[in-house]
Subunit: 460 residues, 2 copies
């Protein structure tokens, strides 16, 4: 536990409303991990100066800090322990500006993705990054985990959306690099170190975000493909089809699709053609009619070319939502298999079919009652995977051996978009280039010599 | 000079063909800076193992290394001195793979941009980054300077085109992070440190580059705008116009345009409507006819809305080349004013008009015979600027005060896309956040404790 005089010192910085313990803390939802609030003490600064003062106090007194955004992270990066403090950035929630022509926004890090999307929409812009947890996930958290989502294949991951950054370093100093321009080469681009560092090198407090023109007229289809090879060929064809703009291509393996559609409905989609691979394809056109007909033509040609078995194009907002719900409510798998092992990998598209075949074969070899579910973002080759047994889980290491087999040789990643946190540390130590790992440790010791920033996460 | 036994040791690594001195070196073009080859000794490794051995030898013997790509850099980053060696990556010039569906290429760092563009074109892809020096500039050099170019507003700068990187660190170890996927979060993204570091932290030897679908049917226009505000509004309108895809929007101030068009011709363009701001707008359409008519419609509407005074749409490849030549042969200014001072700034679009007004006023205040020329990339607010006197140059510090006035307050950058090298070091020290600058120095000392990597550039 943190000594009383230090709690008093923290309260002097934030005021009484900025300290939450016991009852007040128990009223807060712990988020994705039940241990996120275990520290029992949350500090809520209102501005960067307060963040700086808190971090300095903690550094001087060797108190470990666990930064919190929206607590939607899936790798345990926000888990806290008794001798630590939680530094919640929730009160830094101002959208400071949105520039329509420059396509930029300046935000404090506690702003949620959805709040920024809504503000940007007022000038016909959007964030260019979208994830299902948009209502809770904060820009600071998304920067710290380098979030990915559904549009990364064309607009990049969070790292590509950040133009400028303000960071509080572990000694309390404030590094300000708030350029609002795409082109700025002013020495080493140090802000990149803090993007994806999961709060282990400093605290992101403010950012300049690159926005992009909003999609106005979109068409959405559920597509059944005969194979992953066909799905990749369809993706390639749509990327080169100038009659439409490809916005999103989500992928679902047959097993995922069946569990999801049977749990979530509607019956019309549950009755859809059987296939090994399903896609949700979303495209944009010049107007609503043009968007629908361009997608219809493209999918018609793909059926001719045997890349597609069948397709349903949403004819209403409800039909669109029904299709998206199958993909976005992926908790449907957790509800069916609460103890399943989860993974978050990516493989280059030229290897996606081989990876899926290898995965299906590997899961079968784990036991007749073992199930593998895969879904994710086709354009990035990013699959979210759950492996679970109908009668108790198989050995976790055996499962990992299946999921990670050849992932390096294929040029893929064992950690696509959820980060390392606590959960992926064994993989990091086993699979990352040792020269890179050694340099990571050196950088951590150099920037955070007292190891106060989210200790025990990412590097050890 | 390097001691003979060390030259022998270097020759043992590369073989005799890998060492160039005296006559052999004088046969090589020095590139953008006459002092690039001053070291008098160039080593040309053939593969990463040779690079590693050379760097280790140099580190053990405290020999400074100046890495060379295509020697097209504009900030003096490749300048070398007598006691240093030049490490040319020109022989690492293999394109190892191009993946059509995944839109990636794996290349050795000495591959030129144009060679990669030509290879990618075979599968209807392109690099998503383009600069006039494409025939000489290498991928490694473009990574090391974080090159920008004409498409950055929609596809990012070089940093956004790099998926994976192999780097030789100053101790000779090889850091391999050759992920071929958009989504890879495996701890700190250390490759970012080496992108834009201008060879001061290590040597980029291999990269995975993200490609993008090639533009097939394009239309090109020369546009006269009544003001920078109108030009920015036109840019905004074109970004949101779904009947076309905006590829490039280059900007030229009146004074640049006049000097260029009168020197380069043709007469038809020299007779084009007078205006304070000229643009080259390039767009893509569904087919050739569609591309032309969509641009025609968009510019017609812009004339109605008083955003455009006049426009010429190229009707042939020759007309397109004539228009582009005015912008790409910007050496026309150097030929007219060989001693002019050059700058490379960027400002957010909402401040572009204010910046240009301030610049024009500032130049006028420097003397009646002082001329300011500005041109560059409208979408990024990136201006290349030359200030020169008709009768001898004004004081350089006075010119800098004009060019850099309010650039920070506007959220812009004093160093957009050419890098720091030697030339921008005074600006770096004067204008960069001191916390960032201190951390840059710490990082340099940590990674390159013997200061052998391109010493005296970027940080000091």
């Amino acid at each position: 536990m943190i000594a009383d005089h230090l709690v008093t010192a923290l309260e002097t910085i934030t005021g009484p409303a900025g300290i939450k313990t016991s009852e007040a803390l128990r009223a807060i939802h712990p988020g994705s991990d039940p241990h996120n609030l275990d520290a029992g003490l949350m500090v809520l600064p209102k501005n960067v100066e307060q963040v700086s003062a808190i971090v300095k106090l903690c550094n001087d007194n060797r108190i470990a800090i666990v930064p919190h955004g929206g607590r939607t992270g899936l790798a345990g990066g926000a888990v806290s322990r008794k001798d630590e403090i939680i530094l919640s950035l929730a009160a830094l929630n101002r959208i400071e500006s949105v520039e329509a022509a420059a396509e930029t926004a300046i935000v404090e890090c506690g702003v949620t993705l959805q709040a920024l999307q809504e503000e940007a929409a007022k000038v016909n812009l959007t964030t260019g990054i979208d994830i299902p947890s948009r209502g809770s996930a904060t820009i600071g958290g998304m920067i710290s985990t380098n979030a990915g989502g559904m549009e990364a294949f064309r607009l990049g991951v969070m790292r590509q959306r950040v133009l400028g950054l303000e960071v509080v370093l572990p000694d309390g100093s404030i590094m300000s690099d708030l350029a609002e321009v795409t082109k700025s080469n002013e020495g080493y681009d140090l802000k990149q170190l803090f993007i994806g560092a999961e709060g282990t090198l400093g605290i992101v407090t403010r950012a300049v975000i690159r926005l992009t023109p909003a999609d106005t007229f979109t068409a959405t289809a559920l597509v059944a493909c005969p194979s992953a090879i066909a799905a990749v060929s369809l993706f390639q064809a749509l990327r080169h089809d100038r009659s439409l703009r490809l916005l999103r291509t989500e992928i679902m393996g047959e097993r995922y699709f069946r569990v999801a559609v049977e749990a979530l409905g509607p019956a019309s989609l549950a009755a859809f053609t059987e296939a090994p691979i399903y896609l949700i394809v979303e495209t944009e056109g010049l107007d609503q009619q043009g968007a629908q007909s361009a997608l219809e033509n493209a999918l018609g040609a793909a059926i001719e070319n045997e890349l597609v078995l069948d397709a349903i194009i949403a004819q209403s907002g409800k039909e669109r939502n029904d299709i998206w719900n199958i993909r976005e409510d992926s908790n449907v798998i957790t509800r069916a298999y609460p103890n399943g092992y989860w993974f978050d990998i990516s493989v280059p598209l030229q290897h996606l079919d081989a990876y899926i075949r290898q995965f299906d074969g590997g899961v079968a070899s784990l036991g007749a009652d073992v199930r593998g579910f895969a879904f994710g973002h086709l354009g990035d080759g990013n699959l979210h995977i759950c492996v679970a047994g109908e009668n108790g889980n198989p050995d976790k290491d055996a499962v990992k051996a299946v999921v990670y087999a050849n992932i390096r040789q294929m040029g893929g990643s064992f950690s696509a978009e959820h980060g390392i946190g606590l959960e992926k540390m064994p993989e990091l130590h086993a699979l990352v280039d040792p020269v890179k790992l050694a340099l990571m440790r050196t950088i951590k010791r150099t920037i955070d010599p007292n190891n106060i920033m989210n200790p025990g996460k990412v590097v050890s």
